[in-house]
Symmetry: C2
Subunit: 209 residues, 2 copies
DNA sequence: ACTCTTGTTGATCGGATGATCTATAAAAAA
DNA sequence: TTTTTTATAGATCATCCGATCAACAAGAGT
């Protein structure tokens, strides 16, 4: 009972870390923690995981809400701030190549347990950051994809925003069913993504070299 | 302050309902309530909505967990128990017509605020019912769709289960983005669905009359 | 009217949870 | 070593939440 009740990380010893380092450690664990149990997860359990007292958390974050915002920031930041808009509209490259590059990279970024779950939790909670992210995604990714497709689409069929959402949703759903619903992941996601893109392009008569 | 604090439904008066009726009333409101605030919503708030004391809830459900199971049952039941397997495999009807009929009906059933959100909440919580539902969906809907598509697919390309998931996910994502993320719904979902199905069928060279 | 059944209320309990405060000790400064 | 700083622990508070229980009253039967 004595040794068994010891802390996970550093058994019993009181480690004194520089604030910046400790803060980072807390946020990192908080991301994993809240992604697993949901945003209502309690601070005591989180503290236990860190091998630290619950009160310590409130030295770094005045309220739990403030901690959650740090979690949001950590998770959301850098996930959509890139040169994609430029690369997606670079017409010297075939649209198929561009789409493939984007969704390969993007899926690598978002098909990640913590991100997928926190995004869904915060989406259900109606978090403002969620709406901003999706708005940004629409402006910076989906709209350009629509314009680029329209530019090279042959035949009478012209793509609408709904078609882009369908392409996007079909791909993102891979992450949802694996990380939210816990279903087995496809063995070769790249192939699945490529297939989705080809299906999309073929439908609008895009045939490139 | 006096009249303002009155209950929503029946101002102040203590209404005595037959147990069956009261139970149904509780479950109905619980579905709406938990769909909105999440499964951690507290019983006091729910009771307030019902214009009833919190303790009354525990006369009808021994624990909150039991109430939640009643909510699950109410929401899940009848959402996938139909003659779809038979209709989906009826080869006297063009596959496109079958798929269109299925997804039109199915989307009408699941693109519903309460269902979508409770499904997502319970999915994140890892509820057993969720897994059973998806397993059932795979066996009863997706597998048949795969078999039917393979039967009429022309050309070298043969569909895999991943392709069916892509079709399904692309359509279901409409409900996710509207009811979970709170984005505006498409004006004509039927057209969007039809477009998704046509894109899918065209990719596997299915061309029927 | 009267009695009986039981649906409903109001008060309350035990535990959990966010947050606060003081004492301690680890690391840096002298 | 001694002093100073402050990161950390431990105890505690106020509130919230699920659950319990005794008392009350609405409606049915007589």
């Amino acid at each position: 009972m004595d040794i068994a009740t010891e802390r996970d990380g550093d058994a019993g010893t009181r480690r004194r870390l520089p604030p910046q380092e400790r803060r980072e450690q807390i946020v990192n664990e908080a991301v994993r923690f809240f992604a697993e149990v949901g945003l209502e997860g309690n601070t005591r359990q989180l503290a236990k995981r860190l091998g630290v007292t619950q009160s310590l958390l409130f030295k770094y974050f005045a309220t739990k809400e403030e901690l959650l915002e740090a979690v949001y920031e950590k998770v959301y930041l850098g996930r959509l701030s890139s040169d994609w808009p430029d690369r997606l509209t670079d017409r010297s490259v075939p649209l198929r190549t561009r789409l493939l590059a984007f969704y390969t990279e993007y899926s690598r970024l978002i098909f990640e347990h913590d991100w997928m779950r926190i995004f869904m939790f915060s989406g259900l909670a109606g978090a403002a950051l969620n709406h901003r992210y999706l708005e940004h995604l629409g402006d910076v990714i989906l709209e350009p994809v629509l314009a680029e497709t329209a530019a090279v689409a042959s035949g009478t069929r012209q793509p609408s925003m709904e078609d882009i959402w369908n392409l996007h949703g079909g791909i993102v759903y891979i992450g949802i069913r694996t990380h939210i619903y816990g279903l087995p992941a496809p063995e070769h996601p790249e192939e699945v993504i490529a297939s989705a893109i080809d299906k999309y392009l073929a439908y609008f008569g895009v045939s490139e070299i």
